[in-house]
Symmetry: C2
Subunit: 351 residues, 2 copies
């Protein structure tokens, strides 16, 4: 029998944050692609568009007028998936037809007054203001809500319908599936090994250096050993930090810096403003503020869809939906010289 | 406080097959859509294309020549994600860097010699042959492999790179995440309630009639109470059946019939050859053939991406990837008069 070589032989890898497996089949990248090609991203976004409801001074769908903001700007989503006052479906349900109350708030946060910038193109001080506002919202909404989900859908390919740089913040009266699973996994690891899962993981990755994309004194971004999306990354503090609101001033500045570097690398990889969905996971809030959350470690997930080029994405379809997620190259293979060296000039046409 | 109305008030619904929740926010359909619009599907697929590797008599990537088949045709995937002989990564692993052997086979199955037909456009007897071949493959591969995943990715939007009607069959030496979870959930329900989860569910839905799309003497297709994709359906036998290979001749004929009706309805809904990923889940095989699988019930999942029209899909992105799946209309709302009445003529331009 041949010696195992992860670049040659398909295998399963374990995701300890989700207690599930991913199928890694390196040799699948060799197959030719004759399938769907995406539309190229819109190239010329005007700095100010009088019709864009996210620009300063413009009127939104509900008639409200945006202030002439010059930094971040937060407002209530005009079509919220969660509202604060929905009634309870009530008890006495058949076990196969169970529902429960969902209450919360959905906010939108513009990163910058200009539509033609993205986080990597913004000044470091401007990105720090975004981080400060994230921390503020987690404190404010987390005072009562058990979960505050900060997420950014970037690019039309990721269902984003507005090119103005923005993210969303949805707070809910329940712990959603993903953080509930992550909480359970981190807790079990902590109970068994006596230290936070992601703190140990960051230490291991910093030593191995096989999957590190960018690092700084306080932060580390890696393609996780169990990544499902081709260029997926996990952004981790080196210190034990429960929530984004616990970051020091220095850590926020360092975070702004590493985010700019990571996102610039993404943009340079296929010479396109890289699409992704990203979001923060930290210790739960509201009633959980009272409990022990030592097993938690703050982190951000970046899930970018592209596989082969700016126009060919990875499809998570039949086998992935019905059986398990499958990737076509190893996480170590994506840490290619190209990606590592692509840190130079900022901008989508510079490699 | 207002009385709870599922069409008006967001709520969570429980998916008993996955032990997870979905957020149902009916009023989100009211939001205008200015985001990505998909490419229209290719309209004129030639019946025979000398360059298409799936057509009868043509040469494939590896140099093999297809026979002049006149019904179904099965061959080994030329770029398999699973191969029978991959070596084992070996033991003694750090708990955060765990891998294990993945072995299996990947087959492709053409449904018909013509490229310009789809299952709903094929004759009933031709669809029966597809079902017979599925059953045969489950018996053959399931003799040793614990899991045989039959799945169809239909349409470019679902990562399908060849318009010729076909599906895939991937057999593995492990139980993948999704069936492992489904096995656990069905077993727990059976232990608690003394009857198979999906048998009880089919009975309840047949009585309630609120979410039934099509039904026949042996089968039922419903938009499940916990559906995540807007037009997702679950196809269930009324009798307790463990695996597709256990279906009687009559049940297979009835299945061909209901599949044709279900898929015709999909095509008529937005007047397009409806994209989807679908697949079968039945009791596990190989070593599991010896065990008790009474908790299992055979079923097929259909996961179609479209939301608003032939060109606007639902994006499962930021909140869905990082928190939990969210839908923009209730399952009961999709059982609209339009969908129910769309059963007439077969074909993408007939409503
Ligand atoms: O094998 P195919 O059809 O080339 O590939 C398609 O289905 C696979 C299994 O769901 C996916 O992993 C691929 O991303 C998709 O493009
Ligand atoms: O709220 P938006 O940006 O309009 O909508 C986008 O993000 C939501 C949250 O991930 C998704 O449910 C939508 O499908 C997507 O289009």
């Amino acid at each position: 029998e041949a010696t195992f070589d992860p670049k040659e032989h398909q295998h399963l890898r374990y995701n300890p944050l989700r207690d599930s497996w991913v199928l890694v089949s390196a040799h699948r990248m060799k197959r030719p692609w004759a399938g769907q090609v995406e539309k190229p991203a819109e190239e010329h976004v005007p700095r100010y568009d009088p019709c864009n409801p996210l620009c300063p001074g413009n009127t939104r769908a509900n008639g409200e007028v945006n202030p002439h903001y010059d930094s971040t700007f937060v407002f209530e989503n005009d079509f919220p998936a969660l509202q604060p006052d929905a009634p309870d479906p009530g008890p006495h349900q058949h076990p196969l037809f169970q529902s429960k109350a969902a209450r919360g708030v959905c906010k939108v946060m513009c990163f910058h007054p200009w539509s033609d910038v993205t986080l990597p193109l913004m000044k470091k001080e401007e990105v720090v203001k975004v981080i400060d506002k994230w921390a503020e919202l987690v404190e404010e909404l987390g005072a009562t809500y058990p979960w505050v989900q900060i997420f950014e859908n970037k690019g039309a390919m990721m269902g984003c319908s507005n090119p103005h740089p923005h993210c969303q913040v949805w707070a809910s009266n329940f712990l959603p599936n993903e953080p509930a699973l992550s909480d359970r996994c981190q807790r079990a690891y902590y109970q068994k090994h006596g230290e936070p899962l992601l703190l140990e993981y960051a230490k291991q990755e910093a030593e191995k250096k096989e999957r590190v994309v960018v690092e700084s004194s306080d932060w580390l971004a890696v393609v996780p050993y169990w990544a499902t999306w081709p260029y997926q990354t996990l952004l981790l503090p080196r210190r034990h930090v429960l929530r984004i609101s616990d970051l020091t001033k220095d850590e926020r500045e360092d975070l702004a810096d590493i985010m700019k570097r990571l996102l610039t690398k993404y943009d340079n990889l296929f010479e396109v403003s890289f699409p992704y969905s990203m979001g923060w996971h930290g210790a739960p809030t509201g009633p959980y503020l009272e409990g022990d959350n030592s097993h938690w470690q703050l982190h951000a997930h970046y899930y970018p869809p592209l596989l082969r080029s700016a126009l060919v994405k990875k499809f998570m379809v039949g086998y992935e939906m019905l059986a398990l997620e499958q990737r076509d190259l190893t996480p170590e293979q994506v840490i290619s010289t190209t990606w590592l060296l692509s840190e130079g000039v900022v901008g989508s046409s510079a490699v």
